[in-house]
Symmetry: C2
Subunit: 388 residues, 2 copies
């Protein structure tokens, strides 16, 4: 195990109808919020109205900023910063999925910073503080409701980039599994793939001699495989929605992987696909991860062998190590397919003619990404070829 | 899954020599602490000196209160409360294992309360606030370094009783695995059994339809079985000590069992054994849990069957469900034995002539304990008979 520091003080309020209590929880922190949401379907479903009613009942004022889209845009973040400064707002309430929460976190950092908030995403500066952010989660997957991450798309630069900082961990998050009961199958599937990708990034580690975190991550994977497959068959099942929602949070809040390094190369590659073609992140991960696994497998066959046996329960009898490791990767592909996801770029209708450019942006200034296996721009082009 | 609220803001500082930074972390909160510890071996090993040196270096004043013993006494808690009031201290720094931390938490509650701190343990009152507590952990097992529990022994009443409250969750805990490298095998074994008992209390639940938390708890059990057995063979191994230390924290900080009810009857029974005969808690749990399991197995054979297959990897082929469930319980007994622990009262030299009295105190005013299976005083006497 590696040395580490861990702290995550997000209060999780989990259960049926809990968004109706949001005003009470906000009131513990402030009297006025920026109410940040996507609009559209959440308004139609009455979610936004329920939140407003609760804020009203607790005497919390709000200024609304809707219009967040998947792969949330820097332009809307700037708008949110402007509103908060003008309206003297010190708290951002995000109602939505990972995109809305990430946008809220970026706004929170930008309001208390003198320069351009993109400085944090370009690596030019580190956030020292931020407005408090809280969330009412409506689409699980990103884990942003209890994470220190925010990922924003810069439309002008065609770049998607992230910040990790303890100052943006939400103060509370309301998780009502009923929100998932009306999600379309494609969003459920993308959410499940997103969760699996967060677990896989942590599973593939250069750290040796691990026990607890390996077993916890494997437990998370086994659970989301069972829950994910059942959920796409029974999308309205409340209990499956509960498991789905909470697994997304646990997969990404930093506790199950304390003391180990994780990889994140696949995320960096997928972010470019999302940035170039506006693909749903989870759907992109289901394409990139299998290709990445095939490309790096020889680096540590034992790890892939363990995934095959521990996660998929494949029997090692009569097979050599490589063969079983490859079977494990196939099982992961089958899992993604069973959710209705595409596992190649071509199947998903994603163009394959800008690999060099995407690879360049994915490695950024460092020239390499990944910690399980450090890979370069050339490696990424080969991985994208495998993903064709 | 059940509705739940979860929040745990303890900052974990994990790694070699981290106690030498304790002053810096304390200084973020206060300038003066009650330095609470057992004395004895921790002084001989130089741990207390290192902590004092770090406090001095950060300009943190301290008043010392040593002498905490296993099954920490109410009388010393009273003394700590008196000192804090007299010296105007607003922060308790516990250096030690679960006993010291629990004592520190009790002091913290008592200082800000007008009545007798035992009111919280007898259920007469609920704590509304407490002094901040932080810890330098030296003996893993209790999980108190990141839990909301404190358990105190009232010598006069021959009672051991607990409080659960969010106000006593430590603000930070320093976990240096080197502390475990010098622990005697008996304390390692008791710590491992304590961890296992915390996982078992959570595993045996009346909540149905669980996925993630079942897999996480099973992961914790598989890990501590492997780590525990290797550790008693190689007590000085730093990496095994790391896993041991962190597993103790994760097993009891509330995240892996969010959304499910847990049992705790075995703990209530064991607390009476500790209160009557001053037995090390973990050693007592290794005796009570197997007896409890045998007594309640018929209530939900499937759960025991799952433990046998998922945790111990026992093959169900050619066996009926009950037989395999019993095999799982035997495997758990073998595990405790492999650590060098006794698994009957007689083996451990504990008298067997006050069962009625112990059972009465264990059920307390309610007349029953346990949530997986509600048991009465009469049941407890039978469980103690099975533990003979």
């Amino acid at each position: 195990m590696l040395d580490f520091q861990y702290k995550n003080g997000t209060k999780i309020i989990f259960g049926k109808g809990k968004e109706n209590e949001v005003g009470v929880h906000v009131k513990e922190h402030t009297n006025k919020v920026l109410l940040h949401h996507p609009g559209g379907i959440l308004e139609e479903l009455g979610v936004i109205d329920r939140v407003k009613k609760s804020l009203d009942a607790s005497g919390v004022a709000y200024v609304e900023l809707s219009g967040v889209v998947p792969n949330p845009r820097l332009s809307l973040v700037y708008k949110g910063i402007e509103i908060c400064k003008k309206e003297d707002i010190d708290f951002v309430l995000a109602v939505g999925g990972g995109s809305v929460i990430d946008s809220a976190k970026a706004i929170g950092m930008g309001v208390v910073y003198d320069g351009d908030v993109w400085d944090f995403f370009s690596g030019k500066a580190e956030p020292k503080s931020a407005l408090k952010v809280a969330t009412v989660l409506t689409i699980p997957g990103s884990g942003s409701e209890m994470s220190e991450s925010s990922i924003i798309s810069n439309e002008e630069l065609e770049l998607k980039s992230g910040v990790d900082s303890s100052v943006i961990v939400p103060v509370f998050s309301i998780l009502n599994p009923e929100m998932c009961q009306t999600l379309p199958k494609s969003l459920l599937a993308a959410g499940v793939a997103d969760i699996m990708s967060h677990l896989l990034e942590r599973y593939f580690t250069p750290t040796k001699g691990l026990y607890l975190s390996d077993y916890l991550i494997e437990g998370g994977m086994k659970s989301i495989i069972e829950v994910g497959q059942k959920l796409v068959e029974n999308p309205g099942d409340y209990n499956l929605c509960s498991e789905f929602m909470w697994t997304a949070t646990v997969a990404h809040n930093g506790m199950i992987d304390a003391g180990r390094a994780s990889d994140w190369a696949s995320h960096r590659i997928e972010h470019e696909i999302s940035a170039f073609y506006d693909v749903t992140h989870g759907a992109g991960m289901a394409i990139i991860f299998p290709a990445w696994m095939k490309y790096v497998m020889s680096h540590d066959v034992d790890r892939f062998h363990r995934m095959a046996t521990h996660v998929f329960g494949l029997s090692p009898e009569g097979k050599d190590k490589e063969a079983l490791a490859l079977e494990g990767i196939s099982a992961m592909e089958d899992f993604f397919r069973s959710l209705g996801l595409k596992i190649t770029l071509t199947e998903a209708g994603i163009p394959c003619d800008r690999f060099e450019e995407m690879a360049s942006k994915a490695v950024g200034g460092n020239g390499h990404v990944g910690r399980f296996k450090e890979i370069t721009k050339e490696d990424i082009v080969k991985i994208l070829e495998l993903a064709k």
